[in-house]
């Protein structure tokens, strides 16, 4: 057993950053970036996402969304057919026809994303030019932007990154004046509201969010913008904001009590909040969250976990699981490791943690079976097969659909990991 089993590696791990990263390429058992549409369309309530792709794209989003709650959701696929592949002129004409049809049908839409896919990228259908062309027709009623959610360029949550990066040029410039805090990355509304109250109490505000809940409420961006990433997968968005003069506040991500506190503190420090005030404002929430975590620590402490790559949340999750719940990390996979954005997280991981970037799913499954972890975090394609082999699993996709950030959700997040183990212990048949 390693030293960090007992959860006492804090002082050791603070100093050095795990250096050894296994890089794998091969079959990846992950979604492509189109999947982000499933939560992004709920977040930006007047936006429509039109995927320009194949029947596979339409089928993917439908399967990932799981249930058809909405008769006409605010997403759809323009399915390319044989004749669209023959000539790009025709494809552009067809796209114009579809967009016109769509906007006529949905007059409530203010923002339309043309979303590129694998086939549209391969045939080099230029959606940025299409967006420009169509904007001229439909402006100012509808703003038309584009980004790529294709699997050849984006893995799962990178689709959100591409979407938000495409929004940045649409943000109005900010006048000179006081610094403003911008929170970047989609969060559940309830979590956003909690953070707003917290920042208000700290005297930081008004705080703005990207993505906004409504496209007409785009935050202003400029040199006075200081931004905190709420999600670890926003490399392009951060770069686009920095190009507009904004400054990123380095911090771990707001998962768990520790992550939330250090994330809030990064903003408090940048905005010159008195440490005593910070302590006074955060202490009650911290204490409440820690109380709520206790019973899950009892369930999870000392248990081993293997994290398959999925959403790029794996490293912050591993930090939370190892430091706040005393779980043992067997392997932490991530589809992509952004060393700069994850720097504060990596410092908090056990020094000898096994990190894997990328995936060769068969080899990774071999390692997982060999290790026989108490719990496996993995995608839906792997979960039932691993359960059938006697392993206990937690679906990773739930972590992007469930509010898990902030103090009030810290115990909910822990519960997601405890539940499969509790369930397995309950079932006798």
């Amino acid at each position: 057993m390693n030293a960090h089993v007992q959860g006492c590696t804090v002082s050791v791990a603070k100093q050095a950053v795990p250096q050894l990263v296994r890089r794998e390429s091969g079959q990846r058992e992950v979604f492509c970036g189109l999947t982000g549409i499933v939560w992004l369309h709920r977040k930006i309530q007047d936006a429509f996402f039109l995927v320009v792709g194949s029947r596979t794209c339409a089928h993917l989003i439908q399967s990932a969304a799981g249930v058809m709650i909405f008769a006409e959701p605010r997403f759809a696929t323009a399915i390319m057919e044989e004749k669209d592949l023959a000539g790009l002129t025709d494809a552009n004409d067809e796209l114009d026809r579809i967009v016109t049809q769509l906007i006529a049908r949905r007059p409530d839409i203010r923002l339309l994303f043309l979303v590129g896919s694998c086939p549209s990228e391969v045939i080099k259908l230029d959606l940025s030019r299409a967006a420009l062309r169509l904007s001229q027709t439909f402006s100012p009623a509808v703003r038309i932007l584009n980004y790529s959610g294709s699997g050849i360029e984006t893995t799962f949550t990178q689709g959100e990154d591409a979407c938000l990066a495409s929004l940045v040029p649409a943000a109005p410039p900010m006048g000179t004046g006081e610094d403003q805090l911008l929170i970047v990355g989609s969060l559940a509304d309830v979590v956003e509201d909690q953070f707003v109250r917290m920042f208000e109490a700290l005297g930081i505000g008004p705080v703005q969010f990207l993505p906004p809940r409504n496209s007409t409420a785009m935050p202003a961006v400029g040199p006075n913008t200081k931004f905190l990433l709420a999600q670890p997968f926003l490399a392009d968005t951060a770069r686009a904001l920095e190009d507009r003069g904004a400054t990123r506040l380095a911090a771990p991500f707001p998962l768990g009590v520790e992550g939330t506190t250090t994330w809030l503190r990064a903003a408090a420090d940048a905005f010159g909040v008195d440490p005593a005030l910070f302590e006074k404002v955060t202490q009650p929430n911290r204490a409440r969250a820690e109380r709520a975590l206790v019973r899950y620590r009892d369930e999870l402490a000392g248990r081993s976990i293997f994290l398959f790559p999925d959403s790029q949340l794996e490293i912050p999750l591993a930090r939370f699981l190892s430091r706040e719940l005393s779980m043992r990390l067997i392997e932490v996979g991530t589809p992509y490791l952004h060393r700069e954005h994850l720097a504060e997280e990596l410092k908090l991981l056990p020094i000898d943690v096994a990190l894997t970037e990328g995936q060769d799913v068969d080899l990774q499954l071999d390692r997982c079976r060999e290790a026989r972890p108490d719990l496996v975090l993995c995608g839906l394609g792997l979960a039932n097969p691993l359960e059938a082999e006697g392993l206990t699993t937690k679906w990773s996709i739930e972590l992007v659909f469930t509010p898990i950030q902030g103090y009030e959700q810290a115990a909910d997040l822990a519960e997601l990991f405890a539940r499969p183990l509790v369930r397995r212990a309950k079932l006798v048949a």
Partner: protein, 527 residues
């Protein structure tokens, strides 16, 4: 381009996966980008399969496109062979894979693997899932059974006396609607007739099993959408006749028994005499009189839709008010069935068009796919599922075939239970003015703490969406006495009465609904 909100069928390579996943000892190497692995969860989650589909995805990315994606394919295929040691392999490309024109078949041949490697070339921009499944199964059958085909023109040898007749069961696959239980039911039915099943395929078959398909005397085509093409090749090549009757429903099952008995040269009398199904008696029992003329809308794959229409009309006494399918390949079958019931066939894969049709026809029961279940739920119409595309609920823990005599029992229950029971309907009418029986009064077993259901909301054009369904074009006003009269109508039909009356008022340009309008509308919609 085609604007699509929800799709009935996936791309053709998903059809190929349904064949490969149904089989054993077969591996599928698919030239596809990252993300196409989503299809695995259809099998592991919807069907709760306990192992991953036997599919290797080459997972090329943008940076590979400038380099050597062909090499990537070869490595993936070789690794898949080394790791899984399949008896045979199929290779092909997904929609994006086909655009980079790497020729998976040629690349796989260059590997000289010591097993049969079958290329499935699926036109992803023209065809869909069922077609992909049929083509894949056909290519597999041709490649694996072909080597043992008799010389062209050679006459099929007569079966020796005393040898039992045998057949193949063709069509069941992964993610099929009740295929698992249909196979059990039909295998049992055939056993009762003294007919052996030589091979069931694709479900459960190995490549070696496919190689001996020619040994059977004839083929039972359970699902023409998947097995039709392969069966007609087997007929041409091995002289094996195929069944035409789909044994769904009591009459069809009896005809099926006679058909297979004829093909096998056995006597069906005993099986037909002893076979028991409760559907005919349940349908004749007096409680079922309320089923008479219930307006039913049917949509699904052609095989299940045609069978459902026949049962609905001839075995339950419903009235078929609409029939349709999402599979254009089987449009002819639906058009023929539509003629029988004197309705317009609906052949479309546009979900919104189906929804508009259901709203227009106002059926009392919808028999459809999971997509129609959603439509029916939104429109407040009872619904039963009869066809793929499937949902986790379509893989029940219990035995629930659609085919054969037990299938008929299952169908009776499944279709009738969503409807208000006959006697219940009479009692509700009788007691409608009782003080304890009123709007919002929940069934007593739910206790008094429950709030009543919000049943009588004015008709709107679908919340949270701008639905194309024209319900109220202009706002009509209900006169107070008409509103009062409306409330005398039992609550469970009141919503429909309100909608019909408003539609009638709209169509007749009436701004105010009076008691007279209410009864005019009732007469207008009376059947």
């Amino acid at each position: 381009m085609q604007l699509t909100v929800w799709t009935y069928e996936g791309p053709p390579h998903v059809g190929a996966m349904r064949v490969a996943t149904g089989m054993q000892g077969l591996h599928y190497v698919l030239h596809a980008p990252q993300g196409d692995t989503y299809a695995d969860l259809l099998f592991t989650m919807i069907e709760r399969r306990d192992r991953r589909p036997p599919v290797t995805y080459t997972t090329f990315s943008a940076r590979d496109l400038g380099g050597d994606t062909a090499e990537l394919f070869k490595t993936a295929a070789q690794n898949a062979y080394d790791r899984f040691q399949p008896q045979a392999m199929i290779v092909g490309a997904s929609c994006t894979g086909s655009l980079i024109q790497d020729d998976p078949g040629g690349l796989a041949r260059a590997l000289n693997l010591p097993i049969p490697v079958v290329t499935v070339d699926l036109p992803a921009y023209q065809r869909k899932e069922n077609w992909g499944a049929a083509e894949t199964f056909y290519q597999l059958v041709r490649a694996l059974a072909g080597p043992s085909a008799p010389a062209p023109g050679a006459k099929r040898p007569e079966r020796e006396a005393g040898v039992r007749s045998s057949c193949n069961l063709l069509g069941p696959a992964a993610l099929g609607f009740r295929h698992r239980d249909d196979v059990t039911e039909i295998t049992g039915l055939l056993a009762g007739l003294g007919i052996d099943v030589n091979v069931t395929a694709p479900m459960g078959a190995t490549p070696a099993d496919l190689a001996r398909l020619g040994d059977a005397d004839f083929n039972v085509v359970l699902y023409p959408e998947i097995a039709g093409q392969a069966a007609s090749w087997l007929q041409r090549t091995f002289g094996q006749p195929s069944t035409k009757t789909i044994p769904i429903g009591v009459s069809a099952t009896r005809e099926f028994v006679e058909e297979v008995a004829g093909l096998a040269g056995v006597d069906a009398t005993a099986v037909l005499a002893t076979s028991s199904t409760r559907l005919p008696w349940y349908s004749r029992s007096v409680d079922s009189t309320y089923l008479t003329g219930k307006r039913v809308f049917i949509f699904g794959d052609a095989t299940h839709a045609v069978a459902a229409a026949r049962i609905a009309s001839d075995e339950l006494g419903f009235k078929v008010v609409g029939i349709g399918t999402y599979s254009r390949e089987f449009g002819r079958e639906i058009r023929e069935a539509a003629k029988l019931y004197d309705v317009e066939p609906l052949i479309t894969d546009d979900y919104l068009e189906v929804e508009a049709k259901v709203a227009e026809l106002q059926p009392e029961l919808v028999l459809g796919t999971q997509m129609e279940r959603h439509i029916a739920k939104r429109l407040g119409v009872p619904c039963a599922v009869i066809s793929a595309p499937v949902h986790v609920q379509d893989f029940p823990a219990r035995y629930a075939p659609q085919m054969g005599f037990e299938g008929a029992n299952v169908i009776f229950d499944t279709w009738v239970h969503p409807l208000m029971m006959g006697l219940e309907e009479h009692l509700l009418a009788m007691f409608k003015d009782d003080f304890e029986f009123k709007d919002g009064a929940m069934p007593s077993h739910l206790g008094s703490g429950h709030a009543g259901p919000a049943r009588d909301v004015p008709a709107q054009a679908g919340q949270a969406s701008t639905s194309s369904i024209p319900v109220s074009d202009i706002a009509v006003i209900w006169a107070a006495d008409a509103e009062k009269e409306l409330h005398k109508i039992p609550f469970f039909v009141r919503g429909k009465a309100r909608r019909n009356t408003e539609r009638f008022a709209n169509e007749n340009g009436l701004a105010t609904i009076t008691v007279e309008t209410l009864y005019d509308a009732k007469a207008h919609y009376a059947r």
